[in-house]
């Protein structure tokens, strides 16, 4: 066992410890501490990614003296390493980029509580990525839910309280269904470890024993995680939660929390139930249909928004639809596209939320497009980042969003004929709809008006500038150098079984 393998549990435990210590620190100190910890976790995750790519197969880390079916176990392949790196990059940049927003929106004496939530959120995301045990996944889903709720309501006003309540109700419904699913699965297989469940499920599927409970379990788990990641008919909590919380929280919620659940669902697809059984139970078709509806409806609703935050939030619903559409294709290529889109969307959405904050700062604090006009000239970097993000979401070449759309199209061509037509046509319509509202937003940001808001004493925050530049580079990186990443995802999926 090499030394690097220790980094997998160490990064989780480091985040948990940081959360505990943050509760004893003063506000600003806890932020500095958190940022240091997140950077360390990023470096550790990079090592894990490099090691797993070099190794070519996954390794297992036994948590404690007793091996797997008796004790707990973590597992890291190159896909897990990639996701860990991605999550820690976005988390770090979102926290750094929103520092001024945090100072304005969060009460001084609650600042350390905010960073407890950030640290534990990171721990739970890493645990969801690395876990090899379904019950451990549930425990960390719980932590994730509570931390997400707190991230919304840390900004103390009526809107966020209502949003947090809505989020909590929907999210707990999802957790409950997931728990029922896990316990039913345990009853019919007698295992909690992912590969062991997989073995038992394949056996059950062949013999036809417990066929009805197995179908119900698959349905419950998919629906539970779809609710938690805001797939179309379950999206009602999303606009308010993203629209009123502080900028860092919105960025984290949109690009990490929902993505963590989707990644867990992908793990369940491949490592717990098995892709063949999933496709055999037709659950992929259902996810495909709702993904398609979400792609259209999210964009249609986004067109009607006049508030920039709500626009970005509704666009998230459409993008989640893309991811589920890719998963619903039921092929490996579709899954690669979906995972690539998780990264592309995460990188872009968090950038949009942070840039939006920079634009709002120079528009008298208003989020309305009539006030935002001309804000691109008042805060140049935020305007640029907003434009890059918007173009990426529309799918302009060289940017992350374009590449993921290409992968979706490639995956759709190899799919079943009906699915191919539906997916291609919806991709085209959705791209046009995206263009309608994002290009309009960019144009209004760069319409030279509202010059009375120009304040010569305004200085853009350097932290935000740093984060935005990193985001822009990351976006171009995903767009141009997509091949090695897609390759890593593909090998990662291969070693998943």
């Amino acid at each position: 066992m090499t030394f690097i393998e220790n980094f997998v549990p160490f990064s989780i435990i480091l985040c948990m410890g940081a959360g505990i210590i943050s509760s004893a620190l003063k506000g600003r100190t806890s932020r500095r501490f958190s940022i240091i910890i997140l950077s360390v976790v990023l470096i550790l995750s990079c090592f894990v990614l490099g090691y797993t790519v070099y190794l070519g197969h996954a390794f297992v880390y036994v948590m404690g003296k007793f091996p797997a079916p008796w004790g707990n176990e973590l597992r890291a392949g190159c896909l897990e390493g990639l996701m860990a790196v991605f999550f820690s990059v976005i988390m770090l940049l979102s926290v750094v980029g929103g520092i001024r927003g945090q100072n304005d929106d969060i009460r001084e004496d609650k600042m350390n509580l905010y960073f407890i939530m950030i640290d534990l959120m990171m721990a739970s995301l890493l645990a969801l990525v690395y876990t090899n045990d379904l019950f451990t996944a549930y425990v960390f889903v719980e932590i994730n839910t509570m931390a997400a709720c707190a991230l919304i309501m840390i900004r103390d006003n009526g809107h966020t309280l209502v949003a947090a309540t809505k989020y909590m109700i929907m999210s707990l419904l999802g957790s409950g269904l997931l728990l029922i699913g896990i316990s039913m699965l345990y009853t019919i297989t007698g295992q909690l470890l992912m590969p062991n469940i997989h073995e038992a499920v394949v056996r059950l599927n062949e013999t036809g024993e417990y066929a009805i409970p197995l179908t119900v379990v698959i349905g419950l788990m998919s629906v539970a995680l779809a609710i938690k990641s805001a797939l179309y008919p379950f999206h009602s909590w999303l606009p308010e939660a993203y629209g009123y919380s502080t900028a860092s929280s919105s960025a984290i919620l949109s690009s990490l929390v929902s993505k963590g659940y989707i990644f867990l669902l992908i793990k369940i697809f491949y490592r717990v139930i098995g892709m063949d059984v999933m496709v055999g139970h037709k659950i992929t078709n259902i996810l495909f249909v709702f993904g398609i509806i979400g792609m259209i409806m999210g964009s249609v609703t986004a067109i009607r928004q006049t508030d920039v935050r709500h626009l970005i939030a509704y666009s998230s619903i459409a993008q989640i639809g893309y991811i589920y559409m890719g998963m619903g294709l039921g092929s490996n290529a579709g899954m690669v596209a979906a995972i690539f889109h998780i990264m592309a969307h995460g990188a872009t959405k968090s950038m949009l939320f942070i840039a939006q904050r920079g634009l709002v700062e120079v528009s008298d604090g208003s989020k309305d497009f009539s006030d935002l006009k001309g804000s691109g000239f008042r805060n140049h970097l935020a305007g640029l980042a907003f434009a890059v993000g918007a173009f990426s979401m529309v799918g302009v070449p060289l940017l992350a969003g374009f590449t993921s759309k290409v992968y979706f199209a490639e995956a759709a061509i190899t799919a079943v004929r009906v699915k191919m037509w539906i997916a291609m046509i919806t991709l085209a319509i959705s791209t046009i709809l995206n263009a309608v509202y994002f290009i309009r937003a960019v144009i209004s940001v760069y319409t030279p008006r509202n010059m009375e808001y120009k304040d010569s004493s305004y200085k853009p925050s350097t932290n935000m500038a740093f984060a935005l530049i990193c985001f822009i580079i990351f976006n171009f990186f995903l767009g141009i150098l997509s091949y090695p990443i897609a390759n890593t995802i593909e090998t990662g999926l291969k070693v998943f079984d």
Partner: protein
């Protein structure tokens, strides 16, 4: 700070904010100082003005709206209720039918009765040193899950703090002063009973924690008992007396050190276990009070954390601070 809409004070959201922050019951506390009284008066005037505005607005709305959309809304709400009940009933029915297809509870041939359970029961005592198999299972075999579960409690307490912690200042003073407003102060019956019961509850809680590896119980249940004892003490004798031994400072130190030690112990255990080294933790003779290695200490840490969390919930809900 983002510019709030001018009529934010009139919205539903503002009322919710006021309610959560306790401003609706502002009238309990009427400062007699001139500036504060004036401030209050102006605030009340503003509020009444706001209420007037709201009324006028509603009246105008009523004139503008026809009655038809309202009827439609009412019908929609009724329909919504019926559909919700139907969906829930279908869901329940579906789950019930599924349960009837699951293996029968308690049969020896069930899939869950496999080699995993067998090892827990047969070798649990030998491998973990704990007579209570359940404690051995959750704190040793599956220690990582339980660490997550403890953090769930920690994060729950922090969430309640985010929601209910009152800022330093006038509001905090008033909230602290009136935390016994609706309760009898120094009630002799409660105090006598508490004086008799609290030590018993504490001793019982400590017993449950320390015997976690020998008999049913452990950190979670024992901590809850300790927390209940603390709450009983507070409700009998008030916060002033309690704060001599349980204030924010003590709370922080106890919680942080318990969790830190917990995480450190488990990290050591994970590291040694994963590499196949001997971890040099003596298991002792099963049945003795000092046995079962780390489990005893972990129970103590978990118990401290749970007791602190229980007390913090009570104090936060009662007066918005520790």
């Amino acid at each position: 700070m983002s510019k709030k809409r001018r009529d934010y004070k009139l919205t539903f959201y503002s009322r919710i904010e006021d309610f959560v922050n306790g401003k609706e019951e502002f009238l309990l506390y009427r400062p007699t100082g001139t500036t504060e009284a004036k401030k209050l008066e102006t605030l009340e005037e503003e509020l009444t003005e706001a209420a007037d505005l709201l009324e006028k607005r509603e009246a105008r709305q009523k004139v503008q709206d026809n009655t038809e959309p309202l009827d439609f809304l009412k019908r929609f709400h009724r329909l919504y209720g019926i559909i919700a009940v139907l969906v829930c009933a279908t869901m329940m029915g579906m789950l019930m039918i599924t349960v009837s297809w699951l293996p029968k509870f308690g049969e020896p041939g069930n899939p869950a009765n496999n080699e995993v359970i067998a090892r827990y029961i047969e070798k649990g005592q030998e491998e973990t040193g704990a007579v209570n198999v359940v404690t051995g299972l959750i704190l040793n075999y599956r220690g990582f899950d339980t660490m997550g579960e403890t953090h769930v409690l920690f994060i729950a307490a922090s969430c309640v703090m985010i929601l209910l912690l009152i800022a330093e200042g006038e509001e905090k003073k008033s909230s602290y002063a009136f935390d016994r407003y609706l309760e009898p102060k120094n009630d002799i019956i409660i105090q006598k009973v508490a004086a008799f019961l609290v030590p018993v509850v504490f001793v019982f809680g400590i017993y449950v924690i320390l015997n976690g590896h020998l008999s049913p119980g452990g950190g979670f249940s024992g901590g809850a008992i300790l927390g209940a004892g603390l709450i009983m003490y507070v409700s009998a004798f008030g916060f002033k007396k309690t704060q001599r031994f349980m204030n924010e400072h003590v709370y922080k130190i106890a919680k942080v050190s318990a969790l830190c030690f917990y995480v450190c112990c488990l990290s050591y255990y994970f590291y040694m276990g994963a590499h196949g080294y001997d971890n040099h933790i003596p298991l002792g003779t099963p049945g003795n009070i000092i046995s079962s290695g780390l489990i005893l200490f972990i129970n103590i840490f978990v118990g401290t954390e749970v007791a602190c969390t229980m007390y913090a919930f009570y104090a936060l809900f009662r007066k918005g601070g520790l």
